[in-house]
């Protein structure tokens, strides 16, 4: 009698354990791990992941995050054996390049029809869908301006005034996407001839061309330079942290770039990837983007994160994205010839 009880217990325990492991593994298997490549800001990673996973409990996001240039280079290098399932939050110009290289799985997400037209790739089905737009604005340090009695600029033309000599930093368009969209924006607004003439004059006032789009506004925020031409969101967050800067949208208009979502061709998790693409263009997601960016894809979202310049969206230059991509090498070569080669000896 006693023996059988023990035996029964052992068998029961074994069965329970087996069932438990079986259950656990099936629960494991249900969770699809999506590898998502991104260049969104660090502080956005957790909120984005949590918000998506709350609505899609069977999918888990594993981020690979770095700066736009690094992530873009990495994706192209991995082309023959892609490791990413989805791109969520990378410059649309990069994603457009991937699409032209056949690296993208075309898919029109569920919520795409509700978005502003310029936030879509224009292909059917879409190769990418935009999330938010960022601008190359002027960050102006008011404390340093008071010290040097410098007037606040309101236009690009103002920046060529001699009083700003050696006090402007901007990204080098050869090393930074933000730098290129700034230059392309000028050439679009002013036309090629006037655009280059403007940059010739601006060059006299530029202290340094930096290798990142965030750095100029950060340097202006820390008083390292009076004026930084760069990425708006970075300027706004620095101001929120207590930096004495004003974000200025020059009245002539300005260059911009958007962040986009796309599915990688060859992903082994296509269904889950589509769910993420759907979610990324939903109203809920756009409301989330609106917490960080003033200009988002869904027209129903009226957002104004703290310390953003108010009139940015109206002044966005009518940039032809295809023209930007096609003329990139020519413009960079010309820019490098004019400003990069000769800038070396006079390090200021």
């Amino acid at each position: 009698m006693g023996k059988t009880t023990i035996l029964r217990r052992v068998v029961l325990a074994g069965a329970t354990a087996l069932a438990a492991t079986g259950f656990a593994t099936s629960a494991w298997a249900q969770k699809t791990k999506l590898t998502v490549y991104t260049a969104i800001e660090n502080e956005q990673l957790d909120p984005f992941k949590k918000a998506f996973e709350a609505d899609n409990p069977t999918i888990e996001i594993a981020w690979v995050r770095d700066s736009t240039g690094v992530v873009t280079a990495k994706l192209i290098a991995e082309k023959d054996n892609p490791r990413a399932d989805v791109i969520w939050g990378l410059a649309a110009s990069s994603v457009g390049l991937f699409a032209s290289m056949g690296m993208i799985e075309p898919y029109t997400p569920a919520g795409a029809a509700a978005l502003k037209p310029m936030f879509r790739s224009g292909k059917t089905p879409d190769t990418w869908v935009g999330m938010d737009a960022f601008l190359a604005v002027v960050c102006f340090n008011t404390v340093e301006a008071d010290k040097g009695k410098k007037a606040k600029p309101t236009s690009w033309a103002d920046l060529t005034k001699p009083e700003y000599k050696d006090s402007i930093v901007m990204p080098n368009p050869a090393s930074s996407g933000t730098g290129y969209l700034t230059v392309a924006g000028w050439l679009t607004i002013m036309g090629e001839d006037a655009g280059w003439k403007f940059m010739d004059a601006l060059h006299q006032n530029v202290a340094q061309y930096l290798h990142s789009g965030s750095a100029p506004c950060v340097q202006a925020a820390k008083g390292e330079r009076l004026i930084g031409i760069g990425f708006d969101m970075r300027g706004a967050t620095e101001k929120t942290k207590g930096a004495p800067i004003d974000l200025i949208v020059p009245k002539e208009g300005l260059g911009w770039e958007m962040e986009a979502t796309a599915i990688m061709k060859g992903t082994k998790n296509l269904e889950a990837a589509k769910k993420l693409a759907d979610w990324a263009s939903s109203l809920k997601a756009n409301e989330l983007y609106g917490k960080y960016y003033a200009i988002v894809a869904n027209p129903a979202v009226k957002s104004m994160p703290p310390n953003y310049p108010a009139d940015g969206e109206k002044l966005m230059a009518k940039v032809d994205v295809e023209w930007m991509a096609k003329n990139r090498e020519r413009i960079l070569a010309e820019w490098t010839k004019r400003y990069d080669g000769k800038s070396a000896p006079k390090a200021k």
Binding site: D66, I76, S343
Partner: protein, 565 residues
């Protein structure tokens, strides 16, 4: 006719060739490993220099278009200029410092030794940040330097700080083993101190001096991190690679500049071949280790010199430490510990720090074994000159390769769908392998320098006693070289903690490293948190080094006792 009795000649050949065969097989295996971790990944990227953007073969078209750009000449000239200036400053400085550590009676020697290593513990971001705090447009001492810190001056100061320990480490190894009998003889012959210095000390350290110069020169030429933070508009070849690869995703042009950057390595290789031929072993079995005796004037001078150098290093570190505690520089200088809450600045928080620890430990263990055994095989194998030359060349390559080029090469090579090793991709394993490859040169040079100082008579004696060569390795060579072996392990550990440019392309979601996180945090504008993370890395490496010094004192004391009279 006795078939069973072999001629004495045959016996001799068999007993000789078993060791020789073993070592030759080992050497061939080493070449295989180096091809896999250095040459093939490198070629995977450099081959793109002969293709256009769509992958069509275009011959030398990219080279022609690159060499016809005036900007290239400018960057190459700048690179050469800044590297030459840094070499001229760092090599004598590290020689004097190493001389003080090994040949004089220095009060608090262990402290000076520790301080000299601090720069190697720090990510290259740190000197850049500290220099901005010190001499930037809002810096505390901006009046002290005539112009702006951004540009040539800034690069030189930061590079000197960054390269100093690399050169010092080689110089200490070169100066640590000296035969006191040579000095006694010189003394007895009445040679002047200057004559002794030029006829005994310098020739003994020649290999170390040249290695140090080559290392500093190529480190400066290939480093991008410092030029990025503090370089201003001073264009160098390494920034050209960055612009092509990261800025424009133009791998073909990046490969062309990468190839141009290999020129210094080729030069280093040739110089090394020339010097090697003339190098003689210093440490024979009869050698008597040199124990420095107190000498007031000399010791005072070197104490002052070391104090000055150490003060400079500590000023840069101290500024970074203070900066890491500041709330919002320069407008709110009140202090806070909030910058050490890394989860607020990077989604991985402290996790990336523990990844770094695991990666660094793996690199130290695997890398040291490979580099030391490799250098030993290369030094002690008889004949086989071609293969040994190939090993030497492959060992020199990584130093001259910018991290960006190596990292991308790793993607192309290890991520290829038909590479049986592609299971390694996106694991911590690939980070370890990449870091071992990236820092192969200095480890190899250190091991070679140490091995060269052991006279081959040890092997000859063992061979005549019919002791297998691997026993001599285990019982004689490795114990003699234990200080150098530990130095290599520590060198690999601390560099693995700070490396960025190559691994930035290779980490996966769960293997992000602290050094990469620091760069990301700095790019997001949170300078103080970046300084804080750099400091945590410095403290970790310093702690590991402290353990090493303790081990040196108590454990090695026994093994190295024979060096003392």
């Amino acid at each position: 006719m006795s078939l069973a009795a072999p001629t004495p000649k045959t016996v001799l050949r068999i007993s000789l060739s078993r060791d020789d065969l073993l070592m030759r097989v080992g050497l061939v295996a080493l070449v295989g490993v180096l091809l896999l971790i250095v040459a093939l990944p490198l070629w995977a990227l450099l081959a793109k220099g002969f293709e256009d953007r769509d992958g069509r073969y275009v011959g030398l078209a990219n080279y022609i278009s690159y060499f016809s750009t005036p900007a290239l000449f400018n960057s190459a000239l700048n690179s050469f200029h800044v590297a030459a200036v840094c070499t001229v400053i760092v090599v004598p400085m590290s020689f004097l410092y190493a001389y003080a550590l090994t040949r004089t009676v220095l009060p608090g020697k262990w402290l000076f030794q520790g301080i000299s290593l601090i720069p190697i513990f720090a990510p290259s971001l740190l000197p850049g940040l500290a220099l901005v705090y010190l001499f930037g447009n809002q810096g505390f001492f901006k009046g002290l330097i005539g112009g702006s810190i951004y540009g040539f001056d800034g690069i030189v100061i930061a590079q000197v700080f960054y390269c100093f320990p690399h050169a010092t480490m080689i110089m200490v190894t070169a100066l640590a083993t000296a035969d006191a009998r040579l000095y006694e003889a010189a003394d007895a012959l009445g040679a002047s101190k200057i004559r002794v210095f030029f006829t005994v000390t310098l020739p003994g350290a020649k290999y170390g001096l040249i290695s140090a110069a080559l290392v500093v020169f190529t480190l400066v030429i290939t480093d991008f991190g410092i030029a990025k933070v503090i370089g201003g508009n001073f264009n160098v070849l390494a920034t050209d690679v960055y612009k092509q690869v990261i800025g424009q995703q133009n791998f073909s042009m990046g490969a062309v500049v990468g190839m141009v950057l290999l020129a210094p390595a080729a030069l280093a290789f040739l110089v090394d071949r020339l010097v090697q031929r003339k190098q003689v072993a210093l440490l024979t079995a009869r050698a008597v280790p040199l124990i420095p005796k107190p000498k007031f004037g000399r010791d005072l001078f070197f104490t002052a010199f070391c104090t000055l150098v150490s003060a400079g290093i500590l000023a840069i570190l101290g500024m970074a430490a203070w900066g890491s505690l500041i709330k919002y520089w320069p407008y709110n200088l009140s202090l806070t510990l909030a910058n050490y809450e890394f989860a607020n600045f990077d989604a991985n928080g402290w996790e990336s720090y523990f990844n770094s620890l695991r990666m660094a430990a793996g690199t130290a263990i695997i890398g040291t074994a490979l580099m030391f055994v490799g250098a030993w095989l290369n030094e002690k194998t008889r004949g086989f000159g071609v293969i040994r030359g190939i090993v030497q060349l492959l060992a020199f390559l990584p130093m001259a390769v910018p991290g960006i080029v190596l990292g991308l090469g790793y993607i192309f090579f290890f991520n290829a769908p038909n590479n049986p090793l592609n299971f390694l991709y996106a694991t911590i394993g690939i980070l370890v392998i990449n870091t071992v490859a990236h820092f192969y040169t200095v480890g190899h040079l250190t091991a070679t320098t140490a091995l060269k100082q052991i006279h081959p008579e040890f092997e000859s004696v063992s061979a005549s006693l019919k002791v297998p060569i691997w026993k001599t390795f285990g019982r004689v060579t490795a114990p003699i070289c234990l200080p150098a072996i530990l130095d290599i392990a520590i060198y690999l550990f601390v560099n693995a903690m700070t490396t960025v440019s190559s691994v930035i392309f290779l980490y996966a979601p769960d293997t992000k490293l602290a050094s990469v996180a620091a760069v990301n945090i700095e790019e997001a504008g949170t300078t103080a948190a970046a300084a804080a993370l750099c400091l945590v890395i410095v403290i970790t490496s310093a702690a590991v080094k402290a353990l090493h010094l303790l081990a040196d004192r108590f454990l090695l004391g026994r093994l190295q006792a024979w060096r003392r009279r």
